[in-house]
Symmetry: C2
Subunit: 301 residues, 2 copies
């Protein structure tokens, strides 16, 4: 079914995500064309068996724009003008701003559907690609009102061909969701890790697996994440502002407890306990298997 | 060598840590006596092969006070008065305040050395105990100036018998260190998890392994952690205050970028990039194997 809708494809940008998609398509019998502004990256992807280097001679069914969020709209505009494909999607982890920019640049929004496969790795580049990166994971589609049925069908087919579960959402809803479950946690992990630069070696030797887990996502590509966060700045700032209020209240409770060590005020203690209990409850909402069939889902970039 | 210094022991408090210590001692040929205010917990630990229930008939070499930080001083006082052992140590994850409280209660500080094995699990209670919980991990000793050589030697022997690496530190230095590498990250993970309670189900379905890792430590025992954080309130408040300043600056950068979407100010972008780069560098300081022979070290509770 998915193969009937989409029989040919081109991947623009052969980094981790683009190359993983190309490998998955290849696995399903579709040989994608591979384009990258860095020809070496496209050759590397092709060397991994992800497809053939260079643009197609005639328009293919679907072009997958797999470039960082700040370049999506320009790339879409360029390749729609050039007639690279009949329909287009992207895979960037922010959806509102690239869609706004695409509209401003006069892109054909009938033939474009935004997408975001919720998978990623700390490593980047074609050599980190995996054929099964998207298997069983959500792949968010954010069609605008302008989007044509064929473009929606083909983008959905792409997700299915990659073994992912298509989830349709409004772009703004998507951006608020990833601000909460991915972008803010990433920024917090980075700030927490950054604080370690102020630590002495004798302090850091006590660090262990808990801290390593808590900061693992901070290991991602700094340039890519700068653009992800700035492209979703308003939504991330909103979550972060709420978090700062929570933090301020926690600092107040701790200072109260620090001042009266022998007679800890019940207010400070009960505030701290409330924070910890809510943390345990919040964690329960995202346990593996807690969200229906979406177990094993990784946070996307 | 370690066996010569310490030939008999009692464990007061057969939770996760106490029972794991008892199992490790048993493995080294020492059968500890097991005491818990909840007799069922002591019987469960004994049932696991961790030792024999009840106080020794004569004072043993070392008593391990394995109770929550807020109860350490009172327990030490009680068992020193009762002549439970010749020397005493504790295993709580905060060191300054229990030592101050012990001094206030008139405990014999010649025969007491604070200790903190840097290992833990999200699960608690005797049934979560593991004989190898401390293997290869740091075990911080915080002897005061009053501490006798024999007590220091026996506490060190305890750590070695459990397969851990003794690390001697000043109590205040220890508390600042764990505020940075364990207590603040725990509180942050809890606040981050708690924010998810404000999320909608459609948002939370996009959560994945990255967020689960970032919040894993928030799954710990809320009551225990309330007391850990309140016992180390001043040091945690200090780290947290610095972190709030970092967060405020990040929010400012994001708001600037959100206001000028088409022309993002280079200041906001470069600030975000700096946060992310520093995060990656900070993470590098605590990579497995980055701190000499301390690989595989878990964050203690």
């Amino acid at each position: 079914m998915a193969q009937q809708l989409m029989r040919s494809a081109v991947v623009v940008g052969t980094g981790l995500i683009g190359t993983s998609i190309a490998l998955a398509l290849r696995d399903q019998g579709i040989t994608p064309y591979l384009i990258d502004e860095n020809p070496e990256a496209a050759r590397t992807a092709a060397g991994l068996g992800a497809g053939v280097v260079g643009p197609p001679r005639a328009p293919v069914d679907l072009a997958v724009i797999a470039v960082p969020p700040q370049h999506v709209a320009a790339s879409l505009r360029e390749h729609q003008s050039g007639g690279l494909a009949h329909d287009f999607t992207d895979v960037s982890s922010v959806k509102v701003r690239p869609q706004e920019e695409a509209a401003e640049l006069g892109c054909d929004l009938v033939r474009f559907v935004g997408g975001h496969p919720m998978a990623g790795r700390e490593r980047s580049g074609p050599l980190a690609a995996q054929v099964d990166l998207f298997r069983g994971r959500p792949w968010v589609l954010t069609p605008t009102e302008s989007a044509g049925d064929r473009a929606v069908g083909r983008t959905r087919a792409l997700a299915e061909l990659c073994g992912a579960r298509p989830v349709v959402m409004d772009a703004a809803q998507h951006d608020r969701a990833v601000a909460l479950v991915s972008h803010t946690p990433h920024l917090i992990a980075s700030l927490l890790s950054g604080r370690l630069l102020h630590g002495e070696e004798s302090q850091l030797q006590l660090a262990g697996q808990g801290l390593r887990d808590a900061t693992r996502i901070a290991g991602g590509d700094a340039d890519l994440w700068t653009h992800i966060l700035s492209s979703n700045a308003a939504a991330v700032a909103e979550v972060l502002t709420d978090l700062v209020l929570d933090l301020d209240a926690a600092v107040d409770a701790l200072r109260e407890l620090a001042k009266a060590p022998s007679e800890p005020g019940p207010a400070g203690l009960s505030h701290l306990r409330d924070v910890l209990v809510r943390g345990t409850r919040g964690r329960g909402l995202i346990q593996e298997g807690s969200s229906g069939g979406l177990s094993g889902v990784a946070v996307g970039t």
